[in-house]
Symmetry: C2
Subunit: 112 residues, 2 copies
DNA sequence: AGAATCTACAACCATTTGGTTGTAGATTAC
DNA sequence: GTAATCTACAACCAAATGGTTGTAGATTCT
C-alpha cells in the first residue's frame, strides 16, 4: 500500500526537506504574498546574498516556488500547487489514523 | 505576522525534517496502523537495526511518534496530534495564497 | 562608455545526517 | 542459570547541508 500517488518519493523528500528550515519557510510566506526578486528577499535576513540564493534554489528544486526572469531580476513566487500536494500527503497519514480509530470503534460496538 | 502560533520554529524544523525521508514516512505509516516494536520495524528495511533505531529517534524527537516501554520491547505508535499540526501549518501557507487571490479578484471586480 | 545593480556559480569550511559495526544492559524463554 | 531476544549507545565514516567569500556575466542607469 502506497501513501503517495502522483509524487515520487524523492520529490516528497525534497518538499519536506525544503520546509524544514525557518528561513525557507519565511521566503515561502513572503513569496506567497507577493512576487519578489532575490535581492529583496536577501535584504530580509542576516545572511549573505549567496546563502539566500541557495535557500531559494532549494525551494525551487522542490517546486515550492517558481522563478521568472525579468531583465536582470529573478522574480520568485510561491507555487500553491506543491504546497497543496504536501498537505494532501499529511492528510493521508491522518486518514490512516482515523481509519484505525474507526476499526477500533466498530470492534467495541459490535463486540460488547 | 507569524504563521506558526503554538509550535516553536525549531519544533517545526524537526517535524518537516523528520518527514523528509521515505524510511521515516514508512515507519510513520506503519505505526499509524498498529503499534510496533523496533525489531518488527527494522525487519522491514534493508538497513541495520541501529539505523532504524535512529530513524525512530528522529520521529520521536519531532513528536511524530510516541515510544512506550513494555518489558524489553519499545512499542512505537504514531502521534496524530503532531501530524495534524504539520497539516495546519501547510494550510496556513495555502490560506495566504488564497487571500492574495481574493485581493486580486476584488481589485479586478471593483476597478474595471 | 562606464558605473551600479542583480544574479550565477565556484571553492571552501564546519556541522549535521544517515549509514555502519561493535559492545553492553534488560528482559524473556528454556 | 544460561541462552536468546530486544534495545541502547558509542565510535566511526561518507555525503549532504548551510554558511562564507570571491569572481564574473547580464542588465540598467546616467
Amino acid at each position: 500500500m502506497v501513501v503517495d500517488s502522483e509524487l515520487s518519493e524523492i520529490a516528497v523528500d525534497r518538499i519536506f526537506r525544503a520546509l524544514a528550515d525557518s528561513t525557507r519557510r519565511d521566503i515561502l510566506r513572503r513569496s506567497s504574498i507577493e512576487e519578489l526578486n532575490v535581492s529583496d528577499l536577501a535584504a530580509q535576513y542576516r545572511m549573505s546574498f549567496a546563502a539566500v540564493q541557495k535557500h531559494v534554489a532549494v525551494l525551487e528544486a522542490a517546486e515550492l516556488v517558481i522563478k521568472r526572469v525579468q531583465g536582470r531580476e529573478r522574480l520568485v513566487r510561491a507555487d500553491p500547487k506543491t504546497i497543496a500536494k504536501a498537505e494532501t500527503l499529511l492528510k493521508q497519514y491522518q486518514q490512516i489514523w482515523r481509519d484505525r480509530i474507526d476499526r477500533l470503534d466498530n470492534l467495541l460496538a459490535t463486540d460488547p
